[in-house]
């Protein structure tokens, strides 16, 4: 009966990146369109609150002191509380306040908002998808599979985006990659303000996309000891590509 399985996918450009929603299963629930609409509507709202490009977003106004945290949407306080926890969990290697050229730290929670928002929005899919779904936000993926097959996720080769390093099979949780392949803005070591250059990319998978994303970003900033640090994380697995091109994985990550 697997031949009768159906798939549907929708894509929108939000928060400056492509975000796509995918459903797979033996039957599609009638209210799937409403659920997908709810996903995208929620992500647009997150963008409105947290955009660092829009000078009128709540985050920008908060950073300029024009709003107090109490005056912001409660989601802003939730994200900043998570950011504090992320800084603690990573020994300061994940920080939403980046040192700028003048030494003044600017608030940019984008690195946390993406995983947080994607994981949160994917809950709309969990309510309607009988079998399998995933949400891919610019290469960071929140997923669930209750059907016969796991999701097969290719890990991009940072030196040759035409190819994948390998495939991991995942049923639930999230997988996120930090690296230099497509972007050069969020790869600063927050402890020094300098560019992190020891690694090409770090991929982390685990039960939560939010934390997989945070750990991948922090591990990238750590550099040389990233794999050892990832190996200590309970429930999360990692893959590191070093500057010289070596591919290293934690013990629980099976690359196919």
């Amino acid at each position: 009966m697997t031949g009768l399985a159906t798939r549907t996918a929708q894509l929108q450009q939000i928060m400056g990146m492509p975000i796509s929603v995918h459903l797979r299963g033996a039957g599609m629930p009638a209210d799937r369109e409403a659920a997908i609409d709810a996903v995208f509507a929620e992500l647009h709202e997150v963008d409105r609150l947290f955009s660092t490009y829009d000078p009128d977003s709540e985050v920008r106004r908060l950073d300029r002191g024009e709003l107090t945290l109490a005056e912001c949407d409660p989601a802003v306080a939730e994200v900043l509380a998570l950011a504090d926890e992320a800084r603690r969990r990573t020994g300061g290697y994940f920080d939403v306040r980046f040192p700028g050229p003048t030494g003044v730290r600017r608030l940019d929670p984008s690195g946390l908002v993406k995983g947080w928002a994607a994981e949160r929005a994917a809950r709309h899919l969990a309510r309607v998808a009988r079998d399998d779904h995933y949400l891919n936000a610019g290469g960071d993926i929140a997923m669930h599979s209750a059907g016969p097959a796991p999701w097969r996720v290719g890990i991009e080769n940072p030196d040759s985006p035409r190819t994948v390093l390998g495939v991991v099979e995942l049923r639930s949780g999230g997988i996120a990659t930090s690296g230099t392949a497509h972007r050069d803005t969020h790869l600063v070591d927050p402890t020094t303000g300098l560019r992190a250059t020891a690694l090409r990319s770090v991929t982390v998978s685990g039960p939560s996309l939010l934390w997989a994303d945070v750990y991948a970003t922090a591990a990238f900033a750590r550099g040389a000891d990233a794999l050892d640090w990832l190996a200590e994380l309970d429930g999360y697995e990692g893959l590191v590509v070093t500057r010289t091109g070596a591919v290293l994985t934690t013990a629980g990550l099976r690359l196919r």
């Binding site: 031949g3 891919n136 290469g139 985006p161 495939v167 990659t177 972007r183």
Partner: protein, 165 residues
Amino acid sequence: MVSEPKGLSVRRITFWIMSTVAALVLLFSYRTSTGGTAPAAVTAAAQAPGIVAAPPASPSPVTGSSGSATTSRATTVNGSVAQTQWGPVQVQVTIAGGRITDVTTLRYPQGNPRDAEINSYALPALHDEVLAAQSAGVDAISGATVTSDGYRTSLQAALDTVHFG
């Protein structure tokens, strides 16, 4: 039920495309223009989105008894023009025998020599990737963030036009 496999296959193609193109397409996302978005100095006029070439209407669906029928039944469709930070992007997709057989870039940012240099290797890479992806057996790709996705947007529009989405 004869028609089911065809419907399934085109959905799957869309799926492959969306999943895999995303990872690399936006080589466009490199900040190739240092002075912001320069209007593309040399670009062909945009081609109208939609089907530009389709097989002759046949009186009945092909049932698969004719092995050679698939290769000649190519549909060519233009995607919409996607506006990106670096300029407009438009692609054209050719579908034959239920598979994407070619992807051509009709329009891309070329506001300065660096754009042209990037695109000179990005576009062939994309072309190869799209065609290779159909046999890769991968549902999704985890990669470093792409910041823009005009190519993918236009590609999806092309596929939607022929109801392959």
